[in-house]
Each structure stands twice: as structure tokens, then as C-alpha cells.
Symmetry: C2
Subunit: 342 residues, 2 copies
DNA sequence: ATGAAAGCGCTAACAT
DNA sequence: ATGTTAGCGCTTTCAT
């Protein structure tokens, strides 16, 4: 045995016993309540110091119903959510609130409604409110204010932060069309998310506006998931009449597509142009660097937390606030004119 | 008033009442305990479904002492910790554990010992163990296993994950020396962290090995903090005999230095070379792209969580495991030979 | 000024 | 098979 017997948690009773007072008195000292003599206060504080005592967040929040903690619920910690967290960090700084990020650990994929589960497990206790990132479910009217980032399709009516997906996708498709591409494939996103629907719609609108018919066989479900996208990309590129360009609904899928193309001997952008969506930091880490539609992800995180804090504080934010941030096409090296040889 | 009266949390008592049984029975159903008739089980489950009940994590973990949740405690959500979280996400996926990230919201700067406070608030309840990222304190022997990432200086003896800071810094300085730089400044890191000490030591060793004396006036405290670093960089560059190169102890400081230089009319790398440390995603988002020492941050996060899970499960990891991952110089565009004109 | 006791939501002994 | 009860750590009346 190399492990020392781990000393158990120091509780308020340990402090009380050591100081020779009741737990109630300790609690009063902790919370600056009236009715404790100066002497006792000093003695209790000394013991608290000596024992290194801190009140258990869990016990406290079971008892109180205000915790000064807000939650961010994400399905998984991947680049998009990590970027969002940086923005959440910006907003929480100096707000007086603390931040707990709860990750379903990727198990979300199996399990629709993970956020209902976690929200239900956390709210009313532990957190005063929550930001839900790409939730799979619409109707949550739980014990705490909730803000959705990149929301589910369906009836809106809940505070929401997202970006201008329609215009962004439109710009992406226009860019490819402007380069001269006609056989353009699309790897779509998670069908339950509004963002995915709008990105597809933007793509279709731009194609229609250019008078180019969408070949439905070139529209494949990518689900925002790199593995799914890679599989569809491989099929797409193996076909005799393969597309000259791919618009992927997010960067992770776009990067996966580039890798698939390169592994099967195609050059990007000479043989295949690829456009993504999001502009996650990884978009400049791949070769060639990715042309993509930038969403201000970090700011989305910041705004979502600010909105939530307002709601928690009971300020008069309308419950239906919808913050939509602009998107912007960023042209890098993964797109070019279709090869003359094709 | 536009806010609906928020329905309070659904508790086990609501379920019990609705199903016409006792809370104990509901609890048994929830936890698959023996001694509940098929009929009752079905009825209770139906009510649970109907009410959308989920057990409160808080109440549960107050009662039990195993939560299947592990915590990551970070001072702030900035690029380094966000990157680490991605790795933590990789490790948690499919492990059966859930992940809670607790951020002090940047208030850590004021407050040495934040991690003691949070660990104390969370452990024994809520989390079964924790990863501490850049802790400010050494001696924590609390109720749960702890793994440190980028640890504090001082007696080791606790499970740790870090990277080869000494060699990395050495390589960075060697690179600048090899380009012909002699007046090389260093913006050091957070002095209480081992990584900062080793980065400075590596720098000094490389300088000594090249027979170049370190001008102590060019070594400034940057604290890993972009604002502090920017201020010191501004002073450094305003001096008549300014350095031709700066080695910053982390990328955030290096990027801040580049910005300061450019604002004061210096060209990077023509007039000033800058090297960073970390290789955070932002290192390729600045102009010019940053030459830096890569740490495998994401893998560090993954390994830390894996190590912790082993400890929580009581597998026989020695309590003193030290995982050190390699670092690697990545030459990009922010370094060049010193300008002939100087 | 201090303490006893109830109760937050839950689980587990221990009745019945 | 079901219910009663105690208690996890804490805060808060309400005595004293």
C-alpha cells in the first residue's frame, strides 16, 4: 500500500467541536450573521483557518437556493465548445458568479435529451441558471433560467444566441460559384439544429440564385461529426462524376474532407475546393489552411453568459431575446478555381 | 411581468406522492434495488417519465460518497486551459465518468490558494477526484485524489503531468542564438510555477553554452499574463539599446509583444524576433505566425484525466507518478536574422 | 450571545 | 413488498 489514508473532509462540526461552540454559531460566523460575540468570532475564525475549512458547495446549495454559480452544459468538449468557453470566461470575470462547465462526455450522441437530464440534475441546486450549447431538445421549463446557444429547431421563444447562419452559408456557396464551380457537394449538419437547416438553406438559395441546380446526390448528411463526414466524403469522391467542391457544414467536417481527399490522391484546392463553417482555431492548423465562414464563437459565449446573468438577476430582459451575431467569409487556401483538366 | 412563474424542481417526493408510494420505494426503483414489485416499478417509472424527474446531483452526492464525476479546476478559461479541456474530453469519453470544469473566473489572480478553496468545497461531495491546472499551492491532502498539471514549485511527490520545459526553452534560445541574436530579452512566467523556472533556466543554459552573457536588465517578469507582458515589452522596446529578440515564456505574452512592437513601428521579424511557448491555436492566428515551443497541451489534458481516473478507481498507480511529455520547437514567421542595420 | 432542532433531496438500514 | 427513520453538511428559525 503506497496510498496514505486520505483524511476525510473537514466539516462544520469539526470546526464547532474544535472551537467549543455549536455548528449554528460557526455558520453564523461564516455568513457574517449578527449575534456572535467578538471573542467567539475570533476563536472560530482561528479554528477555520487552522483546519483549512471551506463550506461544502453541495451542502450549501442544497440548503440555500441561490448559489452564485452558473452552468454551461455541453455535449462534448471539442473545438467549438472550447472556444465558446473562452468567451464564457470573459463574461464571468468580475461578475461575482462562478462557472461550472458540465460535459456529457460525448455520450450525448447516443442520448437525445442529455441536457434535460443534466439541467434537471443541476438546476434548483448547484446552479442558478444554465447555458445550453447545441441542445437536442426544445421544451425545458425548469427551475432556472436557460439560454440556448445554437438552438434546436422548433418553436423559439426562449433566450437564444446564434449567428447569421443563412447569410454565412450563402456567402460560402457564392464564393465557390464565383470561382466557377458547378458540381458542388454539401455535407450537412445535425438535422435537429436550426443552424444546420439554415446553412443548408443558404447553400440552396445561393445555388438557385446562380441558376445552378443542386444535385441531390451530392447533398449528404454529415451531422457536424468528423467521422460521419469523412465517410460521406470518401463515397462522394470515389464516384466517377465527383464534385469539384465541397461545402461542409462545420470546420471539423471540412478538415476531415480535406484529409480524405488527400489520402485518396486528390490535391486541395487544385482538384477539390473545400469550404467550412465556424472558423475554429484548427482552421489555420491544417494544410492548406481552410477557407471558411467565421462565426464569432467566443463572443457568442460571452453574450450568452451575460444574457443569462441578467436573467438570473431578474433584470427585465425579455424572455425571448434573440441575439444574432454576424458571420463573415474568410478566404484562405483550400479553395480555387476548378481545375481546367476536369 | 413577462416571466412565467418558474415551476420548482421536481423532487423524489413529488414522484412518490403522484405514484402513491413512499420515497424509499422510488429510490429503490431509481437505483434498481431489490424488493419492489413489478407493478409498482412500472407505475413509478411511468410517473418519473411523466414528470421528467431526474435525481438531484447535489442531494445524491451529499448522501453517497461516490459520484462518478471528476473535476478540473482552472484559474481561468483561456487558450491553454481550453486546449487542455479538449484533451480531458478525449479521456472522459467512454470512461463512465462525467466531467465538471470549475473556473475561478480569473479571480484567481487576487487570490492565492483558490484551488485549495475549490477543492475543499467540492471534494468529498460532488467530485471523486480533481485535476488541478497550474495550482498556486503545494500541500493539499484532501479527501480525494488530485493530479496536478503544470505544477507549483516545491516538493513534488504528487501525481503530476507536465512537459519538458527545460529542453523546450533551451531549443528556443538556441534558435535565436543560431540566427545571430545576442541581445535577447526574456519575459518570464509565473514565478511560483515550476514550468516558469525551468523555462528561464533553459534560456540561461543555452545562453551560457553559447558564451553569451545574459543582460539582467533584459529579463523581465511577464507572469504568463498578456497585460503584464505587454507593459514590460513596451519598456524594453523603448530603451535606446533595445533587444533584437524576445523569448516570451508563453504564447499569450509573445503575441502581446508582437502587438506592442508593431504599434511602436517595429517590424516583426525584421526589427524584432519573437519566440513563444505553448503553441496554442492562436499562435497561427497572429501576423506573423508565431515561432514557438510546442507543448502537447491536449495530450497533457488527456493523460492527466487518465491518471486521475486510475487513482479514483484505486488502481495501483504510484502516488508519485510524473508524466513528462516532450516539447518541440516550431519555427514559423516571427523570427529571423537580426537586421544588418542594427 | 448561544444552541437545539428542523429540513433541503436523497439513500440505506431497519422495521413491518 | 413497502414504509419509517436516520443522516449526509449546511442554514435558519426559534428557544433559552
Amino acid at each position: 500500500m503506497q496510498t496514505d489514508p486520505i483524511p476525510p473532509r473537514v466539516t462544520i462540526r469539526d470546526v464547532a467541536r474544535q472551537a467549543g461552540v455549536s455548528v449554528a454559531t460557526v455558520s453564523k460566523v461564516l455568513n457574517d450573521r449578527y449575534g456572535v460575540s467578538v471573542d467567539t468570532t475570533a476563536r472560530v475564525k482561528a479554528v477555520i483557518e487552522e483546519l483549512g475549512y471551506e463550506a461544502s458547495l453541495v451542502a450549501q446549495s442544497l440548503r440555500n437556493h441561490q448559489t452564485n454559480v452558473i452552468g454551461i452544459l455541453v455535449a462534448d468538449l471539442e473545438p467549438f465548445s472550447a472556444e465558446l468557453l473562452k468567451g464564457a470566461g470573459d463574461a464571468i470575470r468580475g461578475s461575482g458568479f462562478e462557472l461550472v462547465v458540465y460535459s456529457a462526455g460525448g455520450r450525448a450522441r447516443d442520448q437525445v435529451g442529455w441536457e434535460r437530464r443534466y439541467l434537471s440534475r443541476l438546476s434548483g441546486t448547484l446552479v442558478d441558471g444554465a447555458v445550453l450549447v447545441t441542445p437536442t431538445v426544445v421544451d425545458l421549463h425548469y427551475g432556472a433560467p436557460v439560454v440556448a446557444v445554437d438552438p434546436h429547431t422548433g418553436p423559439g421563444g426562449r433566450p437564444t444566441v446564434d449567428s447569421d447562419n443563412l447569410r454565412g452559408a450563402h456567402a460560402a456557396a457564392e464564393h465557390l460559384l464565383g470561382l466557377g464551380h458547378r458540381r458542388i457537394a454539401m455535407l450537412t449538419g445535425r438535422p435537429d439544429l436550426l443552424s444546420a437547416q439554415l446553412r443548408e438553406r443558404g447553400f440552396r438559395q445561393a445555388m438557385a440564385a446562380a441558376g445552378v441546380e443542386v444535385d441531390e446526390d451530392l447533398v449528404r448528411l454529415g451531422s457536424y461529426d468528423p467521422d460521419t463526414a469523412a465517410e460521406q466524403a470518401a463515397r462522394l469522391l470515389a464516384e466517377p462524376d465527383r464534385p469539384t467542391a465541397v461545402f461542409a457544414a462545420n470546420d471539423l467536417s471540412a478538415i476531415a474532407t480535406i484529409e480524405v481527399a488527400q489520402r485518396s490522391g486528390l490535391r486541395v484546392p487544385e482538384d477539390l475546393s473545400v469550404v467550412g463553417f465556424d472558423d475554429i482555431p484548427e482552421a489555420t492548423r491544417c494544410t492548406p489552411m481552410l477557407t471558411t465562414v467565421e462565426q464569432p464563437i467566443r463572443e457568442m459565449g460571452r453574450r450568452a453568459v451575460e444574457l443569462l446573468i441578467g436573467l438570473v438577476r431578474g433584470e427585465d430582459e425579455p424572455e425571448t431575446t434573440h441575439i444574432m451575431l454576424p458571420t463573415r467569409l474568410v478566404v484562405r487556401a483550400s479553395t480555387a478555381k476548378p481545375d481546367a483538366g476536369l
